[in-house]
């Protein structure tokens, strides 16, 4: 199983990545939407992507839109990692093509629970 973590915070990438790796995922990360796209273009095919909202260069919702505009990623579940402040925009994220959200701060159990809902499990 492969997961992609997209967040401009290095520490969040690390923490989330560690949780996912521990859960048996192969994890690749990117610091913003644009880098996430180039990661995908380089051939990385994730089984799930965790995407932060607010990032430089290309933000989370734009990334979701971009991913959904490419048919080869239709089946990849996309999970928005949000904060309270961003929850108000979650509707737009769903419309753009996100499948689930995860509210910060979260722990290992929360991630795994959401992954299970999305049918991404080990």
């Amino acid at each position: 199983m492969k997961a992609m973590v997209v967040d401009d915070s290095r520490s969040i990438r690390r923490i989330v990545g560690d949780i996912l790796r521990e859960a048996g995922f192969e994890v690749a990360d990117a610091a913003n939407g644009r880098l996430a796209l180039s990661l995908l273009e380089s051939g990385f095919k994730p089984d799930v992507a965790l995407i932060d909202w607010n990032m430089p260069e290309m933000n989370g919702i734009d990334l979701v839109k971009e991913i959904r505009s490419r048919s080869e990623y239709d089946d990849v579940p996309l999970m928005m990692v949000t904060t309270e402040t961003e929850m108000e925009r979650m509707a737009a994220a769903f419309v753009a093509g996100a499948n689930e959200y995860l509210m910060k701060p979260f722990d290992r159990e929360a991630i795994l629970e959401k992954l299970q809902i999305l049918g991404v499990g080990i």
Partner: protein, 902 residues
């Protein structure tokens, strides 16, 4: 319907219909597969329905949400194979899908439409009317929120993750600080506001993750304020940046506390949070910006209640909206439109955020240090091979050695570059420092920087940080005048602090310039006299430039009172010493009412330095070239004899200035090589130590070479004469001389600036000022005399056996002339004895081509003093007596005395 963004809803409908378009097909496929159901197909359908449920919940489309939710539950059981895809199940799902499609078609009235049939069918499959535990799925993420009330610093994280978090926080606070200072200038710059927001946001997000609640709440409060600013609901003003800058301080203290695991270091953020909240309640500022897309979004809100404040009150939207019971549409809080997020997106695109992620990696400094050591070793090996190849006639070896030479140099250069950091890293702290200082001092100071990218070795960067900070503080505190004073002088009220860095001749120049008041030279003169740092005589002869340099003398402080801004117990002398410690120099130029420029020159690196190699007593030593002034060679016996002895210390008169000499073999006590007297030539390496020059006498000067500095072993660290070692081309070790240490241990340089001033005293004039340099001599065992040094031509030590008698007059052959000798005790009529076995001290007095040698019992000292004659004498040749060096001393007037004797 409360959800007002019809555009988004329309989009939602289209999207959902697309999602559902092939659901029917897939459901039928599931039915066919029966027990061999393809879980991935179920997943696809599940996600489609799940997304519809999620979005519907947020949009207040409760009927749709309820139906989708029930469908999702059935699909979940199918996925986990709790139920089989029987025709009943598939049928119910197909019916539900049809109804969802219908709800979507008439979305505006969807909340009023009846779905009880479909719910019932699905409910029968689930075997219960009530929704299952899955209903919690959408708030699962938040359930752990209360648990985050963990105590600060009680953070369970891997060391690496924690370090990453800390590093990131530091980076973000630095960026934040820069941006906050920038925003003070350009209040309307959306790009900067966005960047500020993002920095705070990241700090908040990651600190929440590591469970640092105090930090998170502070960042959260700051973020809330910034959201209002970003969305144009509040106008940014100075008091905000003031509070936000304070936040940075507190955040830094918290980071430090976490870093050192000492919670006492963390400042309390509660007060700041309150200030931040207070700022949020300010009345919306009148718009002076054109309406941007982000402003349009905010038009959806009632101006009194922003979503942020609602969240603060605990009305977290998802909690109220998703509970599938009777939650009414009106309970869904006002949601902003998607156009807002679009606006953020476009703004983000405009940020030219250079992304280092792709092109740079982080490397531990210790690895770079090791790499540098290896390169050092390689350079030495290269030097050895070059020596061999030079002696060899093997053309192939020579060619490869040359190649090795070139590659090694290139490698060395690049490895050095890895250790380079831009000076901007240090400077970036200054805008904040200057701003805060300016506020305290009631001044207006603008800081300008040029050459931020100029790179320096990491160790040097560290070393110049404090001196630079001190100089910047000084400039703001003392250099730049108050706005009123500036206006009076016809300057703009805002002073300018100008930082400039550039490379020049292998050195880095750093300038700290201001357009302030310049140094008050008269006050410096007065202060120097008051503190007895320099005698009036010397001061009178000093150029303005030299006077300005007096501020670097230990014990000097021009400020009338030591303020808490620049007075931190360190003076300019410490700045100078610290810069010189790393082989740098400090220079100061000042013009009254126009400004001051301090120029610091420092080497690029300390690891590999150019040095001059000398030989003394069969040993080789390296002398760093930064200390080198010139090389002087005295050729022939006569020249060597020009070395004079004052008070037992050798000096050489170089272009009219007395240059104290240090014989390296004596200074290092390596034993006499050959005595000075028998030498046919003398090699003097003129060196500068702090502001003094001295000549180091060595046997031979070999060559100049790039040497790799290796630290001294622990046991040798205490030696002041050496600063390190290096390995020469032939593989042998050579010690690197510590020029300043050497000067100090040889008493060329002392902590007393007065004795350092010997060089300045070599003027054959005594222009009536009452401060004089006196030669103190013993007439006999008990009586002491002093003679103005200006009257003395030379001091000699002569062999008494060379004394001859001619015409009842003692004479000695001196420089191919006959020098008549006079015994001071006899001239004074005091009587005394002379040691006839050892060398005698002779004071040579020359006038109109005629010389006289005055034999004294012993030369005691040379001292500079303000002459205060206690008891005037009427006798010719005797000025009077005074107390000198705690002894009554008779001051002599040599010309008068000798005229009398003749």
């Amino acid at each position: 319907m409360s959800f007002e963004d019809t555009e988004l809803i329309k989009e939602f409908v289209v999207e959902s219909q697309e999602h559902l378009s092939d659901v029917e097909e897939k459901l039928l496929a599931m039915e066919e597969q029966g027990d061999n159901i393809d879980v991935s197909v179920v997943n696809t359908v599940f996600r489609a329905v799940h997304s519809i449920k999620g979005a519907a919940g947020f949009m207040g489309l409760n009927t749709l949400e309820k139906l989708a939710h029930r469908g999702e539950e059935v699909l979940n059981k199918l996925r986990s194979k709790e139920i089989r895809p029987t025709s009943d199940v598939i049928n119910a799902l197909l019916r539900a899908t049809d109804r969802i499609k219908f709800l979507l078609d008439s979305i505006e009235t969807s909340n009023e439409l009846d779905i009880s049939d479909q719910l019932k069918m699905l409910g029968e499959i689930l075997d219960c009317e009530e929704p299952s535990s899955l209903s919690q799925s959408f708030d699962g993420g938040a359930k752990q929120l209360p648990e985050t009330q963990r105590k600060a610093l009680d953070i369970q994280l891997s060391e690496e993750a924690l370090r990453e978090f800390l590093e990131e926080c530091i980076e973000n606070t630095d960026q934040l600080e820069q941006d906050l200072l920038a925003i003070e200038e350009h209040c309307d710059d959306d790009t900067i506001i966005n960047r500020i927001f993002r920095s705070i946001h990241t700090i908040k997000g990651s600190s929440g993750f590591v469970g640092y609640t105090e930090l998170e709440s502070l960042a959260h409060a700051a973020e809330d304020l910034l959201v209002l600013i970003r969305d144009g609901k509040l106008q940014f003003h100075k008091s905000m940046s003031h509070v936000l800058l304070k936040c940075i301080d507190v955040i830094r203290s918290m980071i430090k506390a976490l870093e050192s695991k000492d919670s006492s270091l963390a400042l309390d953020g509660m007060e700041l949070i309150a200030s931040l909240r207070l700022l949020q309640q300010e009345k919306p500022a009148p718009r002076n910006k054109p309406l941007g897309p982000s402003d349009l979004a905010s038009e959806h809100h009632t101006p009194t209640a922003s979503p942020e404040t609602e969240i603060e009150k605990g009305e977290i939207p998802m909690v109220t909206s998703i509970v599938p019971t009777v939650s009414s549409a009106s309970s869904v809080p006002v949601l902003p439109s998607s156009s807002k997020s679009d606006a953020v997106a476009t703004q983000n695109k405009a940020v030219p955020d250079t992304n280092l992620q792709e092109s740079s990696i982080r490397v531990d400094v210790s690895i770079l240090d090791k790499l540098m050591t290896c390169v050092g070793e390689l350079v030495l090996a290269r030097n050895q091979i070059l020596q061999h190849s030079n002696r060899s006639s093997d053309g192939g070896l020579q060619a490869s050695a040359q190649r090795l030479n070139i590659i090694t140099s290139e490698l060395q250069e690049h490895v050095m570059k890895t250790r380079m950091q831009p000076i901007g890293n240090v400077w970036s702290k200054f805008p904040r420092l200057v701003r805060d200082l300016a506020v305290i001092c009631g001044k207006q100071v603008r800081i300008e920087m040029e050459g931020k990218e100029t790179e320096l070795d990491k160790t040097i960067i560290e070393a110049v940080k404090d001196p630079l900070t001190h100089l910047v503080r000084n400039t703001v505190d003392h250099g730049i005048e108050t706005p009123q004073a500036r206006i009076q002088k016809g300057k703009s009220p805002e002073g300018c602090l100008y930082l400039r860095a550039y490379h020049e001749g292998g050195l880095v120049n750093i300038e700290i310039a201001d357009d302030g008041s310049g140094l008050d030279l008269d006050r410096i003169r007065a202060k120097a006299l008051e503190r007895n740092l320099v005698s009036p005589d010397v001061l009178a002869k000093m150029s303005d430039r030299d006077v300005a340099q007096l501020i670097f003398v230990p014990g000097f402080s021009t400020a009338e009172k030591v303020s808490n801004v620049s007075g931190r117990g360190v003076g300019m002398d410490v700045v100078k010493t610290n810069i010189e410690k790393i082989g740098g120099s400090v220079d100061l130029q000042t013009q009254r009412h126009i400004g001051t420029t301090i120029r610091i020159k420092i080497p690029l690196t300390l690891a590999i330095i150019p040095a001059i190699i000398v030989l003394d007593n069969q040993r080789r030593y390296a002398i760093p070239q930064v200390n080198l002034v010139e090389l002087v060679r005295l050729e022939g016996h006569d020249e060597v004899q020009k070395v004079e002895w004052i008070q037992g210390a050798p000096v050489y008169r170089l272009r009219g200035k007395l240059l104290p000499l240090v014989f390296l073999n004596e200074a290092l006590r390596t034993g006499a090589s050959e005595t000075n007297a028998n030498l046919e030539s003398l090699n003097i390496v003129v060196l500068k130590a702090e502001d003094r020059q001295f000549g180091l006498v060595v046997d031979r000067i070999i060559d100049s070479e790039e040497i790799v500095v290796k630290p001294l072993s622990k046991q040798l660290k205490g030696l002041t004469a050496y600063s390190g070692t290096t390995i020469m081309g032939d593989g042998k070790v050579a010690l690197i001389l510590d020029v300043i240490g050497l000067a100090k241990s040889s008493s060329v340089l002392s902590s007393n600036p007065e004795t350092n001033g010997v060089e300045m005293q070599d003027k054959n004039s005594n222009n009536g000022s009452n401060s004089q340099t006196l030669l103190v001599v013993d007439v006999n065992e008990s009586e002491r005399c002093a003679i103005p040094l200006s009257q003395i031509t030379r001091l000699e030590k002569l062999d008494p056996r060379r004394i001859e008698v001619s015409n009842h007059q003692e004479v000695i052959q001196y420089r191919n002339c006959i020098l008549p000798l006079m015994r001071l005790d006899r001239v004074l009529g005091t009587g005394g004895s002379y040691r006839e076995d050892t060398e005698i001290d002779v004071i040579v007095y020359t006038t109109d081509e005629r010389s006289v040698g005055l034999v004294v019992h012993q030369v005691v000292d040379i001292t500079e003093t303000v002459v205060k004659v206690e008891k005037k004498s009427t006798q010719i040749g005797r000025t009077g007596s005074m107390i000198l060096l705690d002894q009554v001393t008779e001051l002599l007037d040599l010309p008068g005395l000798l005229s009398l004797a003749n």
